[in-house]
Symmetry: C2
């Protein structure tokens, strides 16, 4: 019987609530599918700072070192970038899928988002988030700077991961770039070079400004979108807008050993923290990705079906603005419905 | 009687066609409103390169030096950034307004874009477009880099321009930033410091990823959005998606003398070049901004009304995918209808 170790990091805001909800569901599917989950709790972000004087305490790193996956809630900033970098979680998968029962929640016309199935792949440990930065002064005055820097090899490895995934899907890989203004970051050429081993994948380089526009004009045309760290951040939130609520989306950040960090795309949502009304489906979507990464596909499928069943019956947390014929539920009730 | 000098720069692709169409209309309103327009033609981009060996020839700069405005078509890249920089066109205004008769063209639900009226203000001569950049190598390999650099004073001057404009509109200024990952570019603090002289303006700092999402979820909540060069580029194309066609949007890029460059937001559209079917309304929208900048508000209003009249009657160029009860027209016919 398989056994997995999870490090649960609630973080701040609604983070701990949605992580707790997801763990309850994970434990049940583990029992049903005959594997065991051992959960340990780690600190990150503002709470870690208060308790240990560090945003990413050494103790958290050690917990993660011996784990099979990290289930993460949310923080406002401190520690998360360091955690991603420390474990070299370069490959961030952000699937944007619409739920049939929630099409009317989108501000887009339902026919524009029906059966939407985009996979955004975001490079997560380099680019402008991690390049040289600072504040300085010269004869023209005080300035601040952040450097969007990519080693060619960093682009090549995320390109290979993207090509592999595109090959298993519909075979269209759109490359977000801005080479007319940023010519020294030749994403198109580097991906093309890696693509010779993937003849079935069609490459589509697209300027990031146009890409943002096309994602709204005609989202269904996309299959896999590959983007650097900053562009991927913006485009994936935009993806959240397409499906109506960012509260539904989960993400997986994987390193080259297959070890991963699993988190919702949404943030800490301080306005609803502690009220017990947060939507756990984003974190749960991330947990589904974790189960798939482990090869526990039956367990992943069980949760997917539970989600669809509960949404089809009309149960909605408050972020989904329940309308007529829908039923407003809080986090606990939603979890109980998912467990049924 | 006033007289204005325009430098017309067609550029590439559909650029020359939409500039010619717009000039025809400008000349007619000039006649009707009793001012004269003197037009000279300048080269920029690939064509300039072929003919002069320079993307931005000195002759073009000299023409612009003695002009009251530049009406620009489109280029794929060469020369445009240099032109913006040379004349210090730091303040790029990109109004996003929906036309009542075109609401159904948007992929958003009509009620989400009705009476949409956002002004995106993009800093245009600094940031990552103009910071130190290059390709280099160190012990880890070959890399490329572009630096997002802003002098505090560059942020302050675009902040002041934005505050002035927000004060004359609905008084809400949303500041696009990414301070949780790019803390050395303190847009929020600098705008707040400039805002003490504008007590009636409400400031709303918003992370750019969230902003992109909110522009789709709830576009009508925005009034003025202030963004740096790169974020402004992405957000304004996204704005084009909201109103259904980027072909409708014009932009003005103004320097501290009030001198400006007026261009559509769309690109060269090589697929339809030379067919006589391009939509001139984007460039015309830019010309309206030029007339307003000159104080020729009656002329500006005339063109606005002509546009509304022709659109209300159902005339559409091909980019607007004419449906039932709409009439497909080419560029020339549209111009003739506007002149009526
Ligand atoms: C919290 C923030 C630093 C983070 C990011 O920009 O990567 C978040 O927006 C995300 O998308 O995971
Ligand atoms: C052509 C390109 C360099 C330009 C830009 O990125 O500024 C364009 O996208 C724009 O928005 O004016």
């Amino acid at each position: 019987n398989s056994s997995y170790r999870i490090v649960a990091i609630g973080g701040e805001g609604i983070g701990p609530e949605v992580v707790a909800a997801s763990l309850t569901i994970l434990q049940q599917v583990a029992k049903l599918e005959g594997f065991t989950l051992e959960v340990e709790y780690g600190l990150l972000g503002a709470i870690a700072w208060e308790q240990t004087g560090s945003y990413l305490p050494q103790a958290t790193i050690e917990l993660c070192d011996r784990a099979d996956g990290i289930v993460f809630g949310a923080v406002t900033q401190g520690g998360l970038l360091e955690l991603r970098k420390h474990f070299d979680f370069f490959c961030n998968l952000r699937p944007i899928r619409s739920f049939n029962s929630l099409l009317h929640k989108s501000s887009l016309k339902p026919e524009k988002v029906k059966q939407l199935d985009i996979l955004i792949i975001r490079e997560l440990v380099s680019g402008i988030y991690f390049g040289p930065s600072g504040r300085a002064e010269d004869e023209k005055g005080i300035y601040g700077f952040h450097t969007m820097r990519y080693y060619d090899d960093e682009i090549r490895r995320i390109a290979r991961a993207s090509l592999q995934l595109a090959e298993k899907r519909r075979g269209l890989l759109t490359i977000a770039h801005k080479e007319n203004a940023l010519p020294h970051l030749p994403w198109t050429r580097l991906v093309q070079e890696e693509a010779t081993l993937f003849p079935s994948v069609i490459l589509e380089p697209m300027l990031v400004d146009n890409l943002a526009m096309q994602m709204v004009l005609n989202p269904q045309r996309f299959d896999v979108i590959l983007a650097g760290n900053l562009f991927g951040d913006i485009l994936s939130d935009l993806g959240g807008a397409l499906v109506g609520s960012i509260g539904l989306l989960g993400s997986a950040s994987i390193n080259s050993n297959g070890f991963g960090l699993y988190e919702a795309i949404h943030g800490t949502a301080p306005d609803i923290t502690g009220k017990g009304i947060a939507n756990p489906l984003g974190t749960l979507a991330a947990c589904i990705l974790m189960l798939e990464q482990w090869g526990e596909t039956a367990a992943a499928q069980r949760i997917r079906e539970a989600q669809e069943r509960v949404l089809n019956k009309g149960y909605r947390t408050a972020d989904l603005f329940p309308q007529e014929e829908e039923i407003l539920v809080n986090t606990e009730t939603l979890v109980n419905l998912l467990l049924e």
